[in-house]
């Protein structure tokens, strides 16, 4: 049982890291980036390509994250401009359609160029025993990176002037403009951050199992579930929801069967919308 829960926490930290990039962009103006998982996969392929050329893993990861951030910024500066000129439902719908289109384009390009593309980062080291359960070095590192990212994000949003500025746009965009904050600058920065996080999550996932180019859609779905359960726009909520969902999904996989996990996760999201629409920590 301890092993099942610990593995669930490892999975959940990954979920949290996955959800946070999506939830931030959504919080800043109601756009659900359906290309999010594909941006992560794109980052992963860049990492593997750079590694294949003989670069160190660390350098390759940095380049991959920057590439994913760059792609995300490009999306914001081009296709998202008309989206943010709309308001309300039109903005939401146009955002969904355009990002879905971008997702198809990225999948198509990756399938064409790198049909067998995959990223697997092997983390050497003996398993480490935690509460009597041996954990692989890969899961330990992936979890530490997710925890570190969570800590840095919480510090950034809680303590820095720009981080508070970002939260102010999430809470009241007009109010933010009135105190001299540019929502479009904030959005571009958060698109960059979100893309970088997508790249990072692709890297941490590839530390425990190979990440292939077919996984983009699954990543987007999981990110969406985590964001909904955590509360759209909430960083702490995303990580909390990630851990809860990771444990729930691992426990159900262990006691019922692997096939049930996606249903359980989607069920959790649906239940959240019914019982607590603002999510665990949303407003």
């Amino acid at each position: 049982m301890t092993a099942v829960i610990l593995d669930g926490i490892v999975l959940g930290l990954g979920f949290g890291l996955l959800g946070v990039g999506l939830t931030l962009v959504y919080g800043l103006g109601g756009v659900l980036n359906l290309a999010y998982g594909e941006i992560a996969v794109f980052g992963a392929i860049v990492v593997s390509q750079v590694m294949n050329r003989g670069a160190s893993t660390l350098l390759a990861v940095a380049v991959g994250m920057l590439a994913a951030a760059g792609l995300s910024v490009l999306l914001d500066l081009t296709l998202m401009r008309p989206v943010y000129r709309q308001t309300g439902e039109q903005r939401t719908l146009l955002g969904l359609l355009l990002t879905l289109g971008v997702a198809f384009v990225i999948v198509g390009l990756l399938n064409w160029k790198y049909p067998t593309g995959a990223l697997y980062i092997f983390v050497s080291g003996d398993p480490i025993s935690i509460a009597g359960v041996p954990m692989s070095a890969g899961s330990i590192w992936a979890s530490l990176i997710a925890l570190g990212a969570a800590g840095l994000l919480l510090l950034f949003f809680g303590l820095t002037t720009f981080g508070r500025g970002v939260r102010s746009v999430i809470q009241d965009e007009t109010g933010a403009r009135l105190v001299g904050i540019s929502p479009s600058l904030v959005r571009t920065s958060i698109f960059a951050l979100s893309g970088g996080l997508a790249g990072l999550v692709a890297v941490t996932r590839s530390m425990t199992a190979p990440l292939t180019i077919t996984q983009g859609f699954t990543l987007t779905t999981f990110a969406l579930i985590v964001a909904v359960v955590g509360g759209l726009g909430s960083v702490a909520g995303a990580f909390l929801a990630g851990i809860v969902l990771g444990i729930v999904s691992n426990v159900s996989a262990h006691y019922i069967g692997e096939y049930i996990t996606e249903i359980v996760l989607l069920g959790a999201a649906a239940l959240t919308i019914l019982v607590r629409p603002r999510g665990l920590l949303g407003r």
């Binding site: 720009f162 809470q171 001299g180």
Partner: protein
């Protein structure tokens, strides 16, 4: 002139709500724009603040053209706007709301003290979330947040919205106090007697155009104003 508005027209979906608006504010003045609901007061202030892009005309601050600049640039240039809807950051504390008022700078201790002197309630509620404040306290916070940027001009839209008569009067007393410290004020208000009580000059807005202008005494003596806004037959 501190603020000049020349031939301004603004509205929604191609329809002008206000047009031919000309007026100016010199430093230290308090000017009231009065008119009934739907006369276009909010549209006019939003166009000056940049929340709405003017269709015609110009807005100048110290001779610098601010027309069609983004709202956050106009705010940073020194025109602070407190809308009737307040637009506070609901899940943040009073303190963080005030801190953000000074964005991108650190809040100035002196200005913070001024805000607390003006609204001691805000000091008591410092760590409370803005959403949990009463209507009057939210209005104080909205004005306080606007002051944190050390604005050249403070524009307020219906500062008495949702306030009981006693609180409305207190709000205007606070504004009068601010004006006495040298702050330039532009207030749009439906409650004409209250607005005229603090103003040096007033403009009457009807159907999107200025109908009358004058000192409070002149306006209060005007038969049309007396009939339409002061409830005197």
């Amino acid at each position: 002139m501190l603020l000049e508005v020349r031939g301004l027209a603004a509205g929604y979906l191609g329809e002008k709500v206000v047009a031919d608006i000309d007026f100016e504010l010199s430093a230290g003045e308090a000017v009231a724009i009065v008119g009934s609901n739907g006369a276009g007061k909010s549209t006019l202030l939003k166009a000056i603040a940049g929340l709405l892009s003017p269709m015609e005309g110009q807005v100048l601050l110290d001779g610098r053209d601010l027309t069609r600049r983004a709202a956050h640039r106009i705010a940073r240039a020194g025109v602070a706007y407190v809308p009737a809807e307040r637009h506070l950051f609901p899940a943040m504390t009073v303190k963080t709301n005030l801190t953000l008022g000074a964005y991108p700078h650190r809040p100035d201790r002196e200005v913070l003290d001024l805000v607390f002197d003006l609204f001691p309630r805000l000091r008591e509620r410092l760590h409370q979330r803005a959403a949990t404040l009463s209507g009057g306290e939210q209005q104080m916070l909205a004005v306080g947040r606007a002051l944190m940027s050390r604005p050249r001009v403070l524009m307020l839209d219906e500062p008495t919205t949702g306030l009981a008569p006693k609180l409305a009067k207190a709000a205007f007393e606070a504004l009068e106090g601010l004006n006495e410290t040298g702050l330039t004020l532009l207030v749009a208000e439906q409650q004409v007697p209250l607005a005229l009580s603090v103003a040096d000059r007033g403009y009457v807005l009807e159907n999107g155009r200025f109908r009358l202008e004058g000192t409070p005494d002149e306006l209060e003596a005007n038969p049309e104003v007396r009939r339409a806004y002061l409830g005197v037959a």
